[in-house]
Structures are given as C-alpha cells and as structure tokens.
C-alpha cells in the first residue's frame, strides 16, 4: 500500500479535530461527548444483555439458540447505522479519487473509515459480549467463541458497509429516495400493525399476563420453520459452529466458521465492486441519470432585460418576505419525503396504538400522551432550519429582509404543521378511543404550544450556531448535530416533566381546575422566551454568519 492510506487517515483526523477548533466547536465537542457517553451507557446495557443471554444459552446446553442473540445484534447494528449515520459529514472520502491512488487503496480507505462507525463498533462490542458470555459458561469454548464471533463481527460490519454503499447509489436520485421512503413508511407501519395485531402481549386480557400458551406455541413453531433459513445465515452458521465446537467436531467448527467468513467475503466483494465504480468517477445526479426531462435546444433571446424599479407591496396579511419564505418552506416539505414521513408516521402510529392501549382507566391520559409522541416528529425540524438550503443561506443576508422575518416564516410553517398534527391526533383519539375532556384538551394543547415555543426558540439558535448541510443523496451520512438532537429531546423531556409536575400538583391538591391557569402561565412564559429569542435573532445570526456559511456553503 502506498502513502494514500496514511494521507487519508491524516486528512480524516485533521478534519475531525479542526471542526472542534472552529467557533462553537468546543460546545459541539462537549455535546458529542455527552451523546457518546449516553450511547456508551446504552451499549453497556446491551452488552450485558447479550452476554447474559449467551451465558444462559451456553450454560443450559442450548448453544444453538445463540443465533437468536446474534440475529438481534445484526438487526441492532443496521438500525443503529441508520439512526446514527456513517462518519461522512465532516469528511467526504469520495474526494480522494482525484489523487493517484490505486483502486485497492481506495477500497481499503473507504472500508477503514466505514468500520469506524459507531454502529459497527457497537456490533463488535456486542459480539465480544457474546464471547464473554459463552466463555464464562463453558470456559473450554473461549477460543472457539472468540474465533467464530470475530468472523461474525467482521461479516456484520462488512454487510453494513456493503448495504450503505449501495443504498447511497440507489438513493442518488430524488425519485428513488421517494420510493425508498415510502417503502420504509409502509414497512414501519406494517411492522407496528403486525406487532399490535399478533403480539399476545398487546392483546387486552382482564387477568393474567396476556401471553397465552397458544401464542407461545405459535412463536416457537414460527422459529422452527425459520430455523433452516437462519441456520444458513451468519448468525446461524456461528451458532452451529459453536455447537460443533462443544461436541469436539473441529472440522465442523472450521467449516461453519468459514461459511460465515464466506458471507463476509461476498459482502466485501460487493462493497469493493461498488467502490471501484465510484473510484472510476460517476455522476449520480438526477440529470445524469436521465430522471429530469430532456432539455430542448437553448435559444438565447436577443432582447435585453427591462430593468424596472421595485413595485410597492400589495396588501397582504403577511409581509411579502414572510409569505415568500413560507411558500418556499412548504415546497421543501412537499419535496422532502423524509420530513413528510416524520410528520405523518407519528399520526399513523397514534392511530394504531391508541385503540389498542385505551381503556376506561387511562382514557384521560391517552390524548396528552399521543400529543407528546407526535411532537417528537416536529420539534427537531427547527434545529437545522437551513440544512436543506445549503449555500442559499447567503441569500437571506444579501436580501433586504430581517433574519427575524425569515425565522418567523420558518417557525410559522412549523407551527402550522404542528397544528395540523394536533388536530389529526385529536380526531384520531376521539374516533378510536375516548375524546379528551375539555379541560384535558385545553391543558394538553397549552402544553404542546409551550413545548413547541421552547423547542423552536432553542432550535432557532442552534440553526445558527450548529447548522448541518443536508445532502439527500448521502442518506447514510450523519446529517444533524448530535448536541442539537440531544437538546431537542432534552427540551421535550424537560417540558413533559414540568407538565407532569403541574399535573401531580393539581391532583395532590384536588384542584384540577388549576391546571388551565397553570398551563396558560407556562405557555405565556414560553411565548415570552420565544419572542425574546426572535427579537435578538438578527444580531445573533449576523454574529455567527461566517460559521454558518462555512458549514452550509461547503461543496
């Protein structure tokens, strides 16, 4: 290997370090550390679970059941890869193709960077936890467990690299992205529906656990029917290798482990094929793929443009600039199926959940709970308001508008979407469960308004200090600030805690009527906070414009 790999690693390192050196980088670094600490806690919990399950399987002589744990590890890694993204936002490795690298080195560099993704590290840790679980239960198997699970971890990581390399290729056109998002949407709904329809744990039973023997038998029967297929996949091959090792069949162990390794080799080959095409250079835009309509020959008009002075604004409820930005925002929402999915999915899930969960005892809580859940889709939108606009953000600083108006327009679109969502949730809850009482309706709406105002006020600031350029063609890349996501979630949780606290207080004092003035005060406070933020956003944005341009105008 020539110096390309070293140079690539140094480039990656410098880019990562430099992003924390810039203005606001220290805060972003702290945010990342917090996020990774939280992530570490989750990972530790999952490692403990995977290790325990493996220990119980091995100690009870059911090593063949380890395939279930490994299937879980596999699924979790893919989900984490989707949720947490690949490390690509601060460093675009496709830029390396302009250097005199050999294709092998390019593939190696891409693979190396991809393997460092948080999800792949998690997969490695969970595999190691399985090794520990097996080794503690049956110490004589430690070496075999280490070998086969190392192969599994590598195959697992290679699978995710292969998958995301191809997903980026397939989703390079807008049409494909829309189809893919629709498929995910339908798939998610299907899983949720099936879970609630067939999972015995969600069946309403007056007494008992709700899990019947019949249900358990069905589950076991399904597992046995699927076993031959699972057995031919890496999780099954590894568990069969462990069984063979426990019986002293070294040849069987080697064979099954090599089978898993073969999967890894195939994944790598498909990944390398994709990378080699990328290495040769390709244009994945809609235009290059013939998605856009073919242009007719251009005829340059000879007549010069008539330059006229601006006309006075016509009468309108909203200022022209606010209306213009709102119109553009609606176009963005309409064209971004990801955002559309994020808005519609909670409403559909509420439709599925509410009817199943609602009982006479919890009727009062269903509406506020559904409302809080649906806000999770809207609240994060304001935290990266300029992400889709990229270099276009400069226009707002060149145009004769106040940034306050731009933010107001963007926020109004967010509020309008939230209003539609709240109305939909109200309609659904009233239809499938029980309509909320007038008091609970008022309280929940006031709480939602307060929460939305608080998250939007904070989101506006974060849109300025920590914007992230969104590249829809790079779906597997991380496209949001970790700290922003944390603040968004934290604000929702904090607001829910305040709401819950006020509710407890009213219940304790047996004065439910107090809730309305209390939540009204909460909403008024949030409105004041939002207004203060909006009032000073011009100066704030002006002070941070260079950092915004640096991130949003990058190629």
């Amino acid at each position: 290997m020539d110096g390309g790999a070293d140079a690539g690693a140094v480039w990656r390192h410098c880019t990562l370090v430099n992003q924390f050196k810039k203005k606001g980088g220290a805060v972003e670094l702290i945010g990342s550390i917090i996020v990774y600490l939280v992530f570490g806690c989750f990972a530790f919990g999952m490692m403990a679970f995977a290790g325990s399950m493996s220990y119980f399987a091995a100690s009870s002589g059911h090593l063949d059941k380890i395939d279930l744990v490994l299937l879980g590890v596999f699924a979790l890694c893919q989900l984490a890869n989707i949720q947490m993204g690949q490390p690509g936002t601060v460093f675009d490795p496709t830029q390396l193709i302009r250097f005199p690298l050999r294709v092998g080195n390019y593939v190696a560099i891409r693979l190396f960077f991809g393997l460092l993704s948080p999800a792949n590290i998690l997969g490695g840790l969970l595999s190691f936890a399985v090794v520990v679980g097996v080794a503690v239960a049956v110490p004589s198997l430690w070496f075999y467990a280490l070998m086969s699970l190392t192969v599994f971890a590598v195959a697992n990581a290679l699978f995710s690299q292969m998958l995301f390399a191809w997903v980026d290729r397939w989703l390079s056109t807008r049409r494909a992205r829309e189809i893919f998002t629709a498929l995910i949407f339908v798939g998610s709904l299907g899983i949720q529906w099936a879970n609630f329809t067939f999972n015995p744990a969600y069946q309403k039973k007056p007494h008992g656990s709700g899990v019947s023997m019949h249900g358990i038998n069905n589950g076991v029967s399904f597992y046995h029917r699927a076993q031959p297929f699972i057995g031919a996949l890496p999780p099954g091959l590894v568990s069969r290798a462990m069984v063979a090792a426990s019986r002293g069949h070294v040849v069987g162990f080697v064979g099954f482990t090599l089978g898993c390794a073969l999967f890894g080799a195939v994944f790598f080959a498909i990944f390398a094929w994709r990378m080699s095409v990328e290495f040769r250079g390709e244009n994945l835009s809609d235009a290059a793929n013939g998605v856009s309509a073919k242009a007719k020959p251009v005829v340059v008009a000879a007549a010069p443009v008539v330059v006229v002075a601006p006309q006075p604004e016509g009468r309108s409820v909203l200022p022209s600039a606010v209306a213009a930005v709102m119109g553009k925002e609606f176009l963005h929402v309409r064209r971004n199926t990801g955002i559309f999915y994020g808005l519609v999915a909670p409403v559909v899930f509420v439709f599925i959940f509410a009817g199943k969960i609602a009982t006479r005892g919890n009727a009062a809580w269903i509406f506020p709970a559904a409302l809080a859940y649906s806000l999770m889709g809207i609240a994060p939108l304001s935290f990266n308001s300029f992400g889709l606009e990229g270099a276009g953000v400069q226009f707002y600083f060149m145009a004769p508008v106040r940034l306050r108006d731009v933010f107001l327009a963007k926020n109004l679109v967010g509020f309008a979407l939230a209003f539609i969502e709240i109305a939909a949730v109200f309609g659904i809850i009233s239809y499938v469960a029980v309509p909320p009482t007038l008091l609970m309706l008022g309280v929940a709406v006031l709480w939602a308004a307060a929460t939305l105002l608080l998250t939007t006020a904070l989101g506006n600031r974060r849109s300025v200090t920590a914007p992230k350029k969104i590249d829809l063609g790079r779906t597997a890349s991380k496209q949001a600030s970790s700290l922003s996501a944390l603040i968004s979630l934290g604000t929702l949780v904090g607001s829910a805690a305040i709401g819950g606290g006020l509710l407890m207080l009213a219940l304790y004092l047996h004065t439910l009527w107090m809730l309305l003035p209390l939540f009204l005060a909460f909403a008024a406070g949030a409105f004041w906070f939002y207004q203060q933020g909006l009032g000073s956003i011009d100066r704030f944005a002006m002070d941070h414009r260079e950092a915004m341009f640096e991130e949003l105008c990058k190629k």
């Binding site: 809609d286 251009v298 008539v306 209306a323 606009e389």
Partner: protein, 269 residues
C-alpha cells in the same frame, strides 16, 4: 448625486490576520468598476463586507449615500449580488427560485412572474425552468444567480466572478446586458480573474494586494502610472498601450511570485 459605493478605513481581521487593512474606495454612480487582486489579496473579503455578508472589523460603508451597517435592509433593497457561492436553493426549480427572490425583494406577484419569464428566456434557461437547481451545471447556476441578482432592478450590482463557467455565447449576452444597465445609470462592481473581460468592460479599476489598495483609477490613469514607473523621468508615449494584464503584473506580479526566473521549479517537466 452621492457616489454609489464609498468605503472608508474598511478593515477585516481573522484571528490576528488582517485580510483587508483600512482601505478607502469610492465608486461613482454609473461606473463599471473592476476590483482586481491576486489570490488571497482581500477581494472576496471586501465584496462580502460591501454586500453585508461579512461584518467589517472597522471602517464605514456607504451605498447610495446610506450607511450599510446602520441601515442594512434599506441598502439591500437597491443592490443586487452574485456572490462567490451563488446562494442558490438547490431544491427549487428556476421559476420557483426567481419567484421567491422577487417576493423577497418586495415585487408584486404579477411583476415577479413577468420578469421571471423574461429573465429565464434571456438567460437561455427557459427550457430548463422545471429542473431542480441542484441538477444545473455550474454555468447554468451562474446565469440563474445573475438573473436573481437583477430581478428587482438594482441600482448597484456586485458580481464576484460572474463569468466563471459561463459559455462564450452566454457570456457575450450577459456582457451586453451589463453594459445596458450601465447605460441606464446602474453601477456595477465586478471582481474577476479574467483580465481581458475587466479591461473590456470596466471604466475604472482598483487593485488590492495584501489587504491594501495599491492602484485605483481609470484604465488610462493606471497605464500612465505604470509606464511612468517603468521609465522614470521620461515622458510616456501614449501610443505604447500596456494591457491590463501587463499593468496588473507590473503592480503585483513581482511580489506574487510568478515571473521571476529564480523562482522557477527546475524539477517540473
């Protein structure tokens, strides 16, 4: 009539490095003003400050007699800008984008619609108006950025490398349009590395080097100054016309480091 652009003591520092150091500029209304300089001289920093994209560390800026820092919104109503990064919205079509820009400048819907159609036709983008801007070539993006910069009929137009990536036919059309604007009294502030274009279009030129204005005047004034410096004590022959490239290289070329044979790289093939 006050000058279209006046900058006094304009400075900008970045973490201790002074990119623009107390420069003074005055551009009269109706001038086609070329602003030149080697890479890193402070051109883009200056144009960003003049258009409100960058806050000056010191100094004042007056556009059409109004203070840009004190009245940014009012000043921006009368200026148009094609910035370095073009500032386009990739997820809109050209028609949607020009409509959006027109509305942001306070034009009514009918005027915006009419001018959008005219500009798209004029720029040769009428057949591409339904395509997402993200799928435009660099040159098409430049033409659209220029259309957006003039849709409100600005009195002062700032252009940062407007012809970069634009084909020769379209460039010719754009030059005609810009000269037409000058004829109708507009002021244009242009930066470009293509000195032939600047020489052909601009009536006045300033050269910035290492953050300082090192030359400022009409092309003839710059030419006379350079010739006098080349031959001190000798009357300048007006027929010996130096090109802008020669003038530019004479003023900053030696220090920019591309003409000295001692600085050649012998290992280059």
């Amino acid at each position: 009539m006050p000058p279209a652009i006046v900058a006094n003591n304009l400075s900008r520092s970045f973490s201790g490095f002074t990119a623009v150091d107390r420069i003074d500029l005055s551009v009269e209304a109706g001038q086609f003003f070329g602003f030149l300089g080697p890479n890193g001289a402070g051109k883009s920093t200056t144009i960003k400050m003049l258009t409100g994209l960058l806050e000056p560390s010191g100094g004042t800026i007056q556009i059409l007699g109004q203070d840009l820092i004190a009245n940014p919104v009012e000043v921006k109503r009368h200026i148009g800008v094609v910035p370095e990064g073009m500032a386009l919205f990739g997820k809109l079509t050209a028609t949607e984008y020009l409509h959006f820009v027109g509305r942001m400048y306070g034009l009514d819907k009918a005027t915006t619609t009419q001018r959008t159609a005219e500009l798209l036709e004029f720029m040769g983008l009428a057949n591409e108006q339904k395509k997402m801007i993200a799928d435009y070539s660099h040159g098409m993006g430049k033409k659209l950025a220029l259309a957006a910069a003039v849709i409100h009929g600005p009195k002062v137009l700032f252009l940062d490398e407007p012809f970069e990536g634009v084909d020769a036919i379209a460039a010719g059309t754009l030059k005609n349009m810009l000269q037409g604007m000058i004829a109708r009294g507009a002021t244009i502030f242009l930066t470009s590395h293509v000195l032939e274009i600047v020489e052909r279009l601009c009536s006045h030129i300033a050269i910035i080097h290492k953050g300082h204005i090192v030359a400022n005047g009409s092309l003839d004034e710059l030419r006379a100054g350079v010739q006098a410096r080349m031959t001190p004590g000798v009357d300048v022959d007006p027929s010996a016309r130096l090109t802008l490239e020669q003038i530019f290289l004479n003023i900053v070329g030696g220090e920019a480091g591309m003409t000295n044979s001692e600085q050649e790289l012998p290992w280059l093939g």
